[in-house]
């Protein structure tokens, strides 16, 4: 059963979580829902839990984690839950009272310990649960809408209340990492309440957002199943960006591709109530466009012209990576920009030039093997968080077995079940893969920006720990940060789309990389409609609006940017070679 999505005609619950693969339009549809409800007189709170949120671009307003009123939409309050900022505030509540009372060296030691990714996660999670459980917020707003990070991250966030609730219940020797939280027992009540709220279908809806394309639909199915497993059973599906007509080759192939994906809809999504949002000729930024998203199209053709004399292609980027002999190459950017395809094409290109290449992904939702097959010149791997956790637990236990009795081991096992042990396991796996750069070129397809930033963030803070640690540190971990800092070895390719949000996000990413001391030269603009020469009215309106963003990237990257045209077919296997011509 499918109909157009109109929040006013649907009975909506108080809490709504928008989730889905990167680039499917979670933020657009969540914002449109929030604005439509607020316009109809409801009091609405919209919260982003994405570490790389772009709500501030959409509303063109500086946001914080407490909530800011939007002046064009009187009933709407928007908050941005930045985990790093939450961790900073949390750290200050712990350390603040001791400033001037304990020596600076002591405070620094505490600060370092409280800078790990455990703390970031705990702090972000605490704020998140506050928004679900706080009674004042509950009475003040009719609707509380969460625009969440791409699926992997959200699954983790929504599963945490149960994971931590179990961990606290089963833990016999004190609070472990959670000891950082003051008043653990009261936190426990908060987690319990969060779990109950998430599972209550009268209170909470999971809104799965997808494009009419195969990969995001598959991912929506995965999220649907995993979240139903932890009790979030009240679900709906929004399919965003559906084409309703076609009149040239490009628009026809897009239309056909969408129809095929929809008719091949994954089985487990079929019983879920499904709503459609049509493809629009404009970018969804600014309150005016958000208001019209669910109502009407608005075809404005831009008259801007391309400033670059010539636009490099992917092969020029590969040529440069080859000549400068880069050893560690990251593809980074917002979800849905095509990082996996581009990472695979780069691996293929370098391998054709005779390099030995290792292609890997840190994306929990990655599907490298659907894009490219292992060959003689290219080996492949995938950091699987669960498998890495198990591996790390085994390693620690086998070391502990040398000196401990079974009973003592049970005690160690308990700490190994702590939710932050996973972080350390992933970090070590990441270090091990980068270590391969000793002998081959490592191309890394990263998870969407937020996740990647947290990984780099943890690399920085773990590195400080490594420097003063007394335990056994693997060589790979010691070498990781120095290698990432070496511009002769490491290059980050920023991948974006010719649209406002992915470009803004890419610029913030570039800033973060610069702060982290990691080299970036090339930008790649993927899926350009402009380069297809479409004549369809809506698509060419979209294409004309791309020019502004191509010019911005050109200026920003000093001409070191390549453009890849939108391709109607799924690019994989042999067709990857087409990207290299």
């Amino acid at each position: 059963m499918t109909k157009d999505f109109n929040p006013q005609n649907i009975n909506l619950t108080k809490y709504m979580f928008y989730t889905g693969k990167g680039g499917v339009g979670k933020t657009s549809t969540a914002c449109a829902t929030a604005v439509t409800l607020a316009d109809s007189g409801k009091k609405v709170l919209l919260i982003s839990t994405d570490p790389a949120s772009n709500l501030q671009d959409v509303f063109n307003t500086e946001l914080n984690n407490k909530g800011v009123s939007i002046k064009e939409v009187p009933n709407l309050v928007v908050a941005n839950l930045d985990p790093v900022q939450a961790a900073t505030e949390y750290r200050e509540t712990v350390i603040g009272p001791y400033r001037g009372k304990l020596p600076d060296a002591v405070l620094n030691n505490m600060e370092e310990q409280l800078s790990g990714s455990c703390t970031v996660e705990i702090a972000a999670f605490n704020e998140f649960s506050k928004f679900i459980t706080d009674e004042e917020i509950q009475t003040k707003y009719d609707n509380i809408i969460f625009d969440t990070a791409p699926t992997g991250h959200t699954l983790r966030m929504l599963q945490l209340p149960s994971a931590w609730d179990n961990f606290i219940s089963e833990n016999t020797h004190g609070a472990s990492c959670l000891g950082q939280l003051s008043g653990l027992e009261s936190q426990k009540e908060v987690y319990k309440k969060a779990v109950a709220t998430l599972a209550d279908g009268a209170l909470t809806t999971l809104v799965l957002v997808s494009r009419p394309e195969t990969a995001p639909l598959t991912e929506a199915e995965r999220a649907s199943v995993e979240l139903a497993d932890i009790g979030v059973k009240n679900q709906m599906l929004i399919i965003n960006g559906v084409m309703t007509s076609h009149d040239d080759k490009i628009s026809e192939s897009l239309f056909q591709k969408q129809q095929k994906a929809l008719s091949d809809m994954p089985e487990k999504l079929k019983p879920i109530d499904t709503y459609l949002v049509p493809l629009r000729g404009y970018n969804v930024t600014g309150v005016e466009n958000i208001r019209s998203l669910l109502i009407k199209d608005n075809l404005t053709v831009s008259d801007e012209i391309i400033k670059a004399h010539s636009i490099p292609g992917l092969k020029d980027v590969i040529e440069d990576l080859h000549n400068s002999n880069k050893k560690v190459i990251f593809a980074m950017g917002k979800g849905g920009v095509g990082k996996t395809t581009i990472a695979a094409a780069i691996a293929l290109g370098l391998s054709e030039k005779g390099k030995k290449v290792h292609l890997t992904t840190t994306d929990p939702a990655a599907h490298l093997k659907y894009v490219i097959a292992e060959t003689e010149g290219i080996s492949m791997s995938h950091i699987d968080e669960q498998a890495e956790l198990k591996k790390y637990q085994e390693e620690v236990l086998s070391k502990a077995r040398e000196t401990m009795s079974d009973d003592d081991l049970a005690y160690v096992e308990e700490d190994l079940r702590s939710p932050c042990t996973q972080e350390i396991a992933v970090f070590r796996a990441f270090a091990e893969i980068v270590e391969k750069a000793e002998n081959e070129v490592v191309v890394i397809d990263t998870a969407p920006t937020g996740h990647t930033l947290l990984l780099l963030e943890s690399t920085q803070s773990y590195n400080q720990e490594i420097e003063r640690s007394k335990g056994d540190i693997p060589e790979s971990a010691k070498k990781l940060l120095p290698r990432l800092h070496n511009a002769d070895e490491t290059e980050v390719i920023i991948v974006t789309l010719p649209e406002a949000t992915p470009v803004y996000e890419a610029m913030r990413l570039e800033e973060d990389l610069r702060r982290a001391g990691i080299n970036n030269k090339w930008w790649i603009i993927n899926s350009s409609l402009y380069q297809t020469g479409t004549t369809n009215q809506m698509l060419s309106a979209k294409a004309s609006n791309e020019i502004e963003w191509m010019n911005k990237v050109d200026a920003h990257a000093n001409g070191n940017f390549a453009v890849i045209p939108w391709n109607p077919d799924e690019i994989k296997g042999e067709s990857l070679k087409a990207l290299l011509d």
Binding site: I95, L102, P103, A105, G174, T403, S405, C420, I424, S469
Partner: protein
């Protein structure tokens, strides 16, 4: 029986397993203190992250931390007297402080799990 208190550097969990590496000393001390606890003997452990207040209120510790900073942590106090600085006590030392046999907390009868 004498009271053992260990003042430790900032850390995440008592076994140190959340850190970037496994420190066998931390594992040992966690196990020993856990085993003693089952016998009703408690070794107090305070670390900077979880209980900075303890580093303020104990005069001896406060003086030491102000003079020496964090580099010489952990401090072990026995009945409020500084006994060991810069490392964890060995099992034998703990047994001696408590005036018990070291075997009595090494061999732990299995508990039902």
């Amino acid at each position: 029986m004498k009271k053992i208190t260990i003042y430790e550097p900032a850390m995440c969990c008592p076994t140190g397993l959340c850190g970037v590496s496994v420190d066998p000393e931390l594992l040992r001390i966690s196990t020993v203190s856990n085993n003693l606890k089952k016998k009703g003997i408690e070794i107090e452990r305070h670390n900077l992250t979880n209980s900075p207040m303890k580093f303020m209120t104990n005069k001896t510790v406060n003086k030491m931390i102000n003079e020496k900073g964090v580099d010489e942590l952990p401090f072990t106090l026995v009945d409020e007297e500084v006994a060991i600085v810069g490392r964890y006590p060995t099992n034998q030392e703990i047994a001696d402080f408590l005036n018990i046999s070291v075997d009595s907390f090494d061999e732990e009868p299995t508990t039902d799990k």
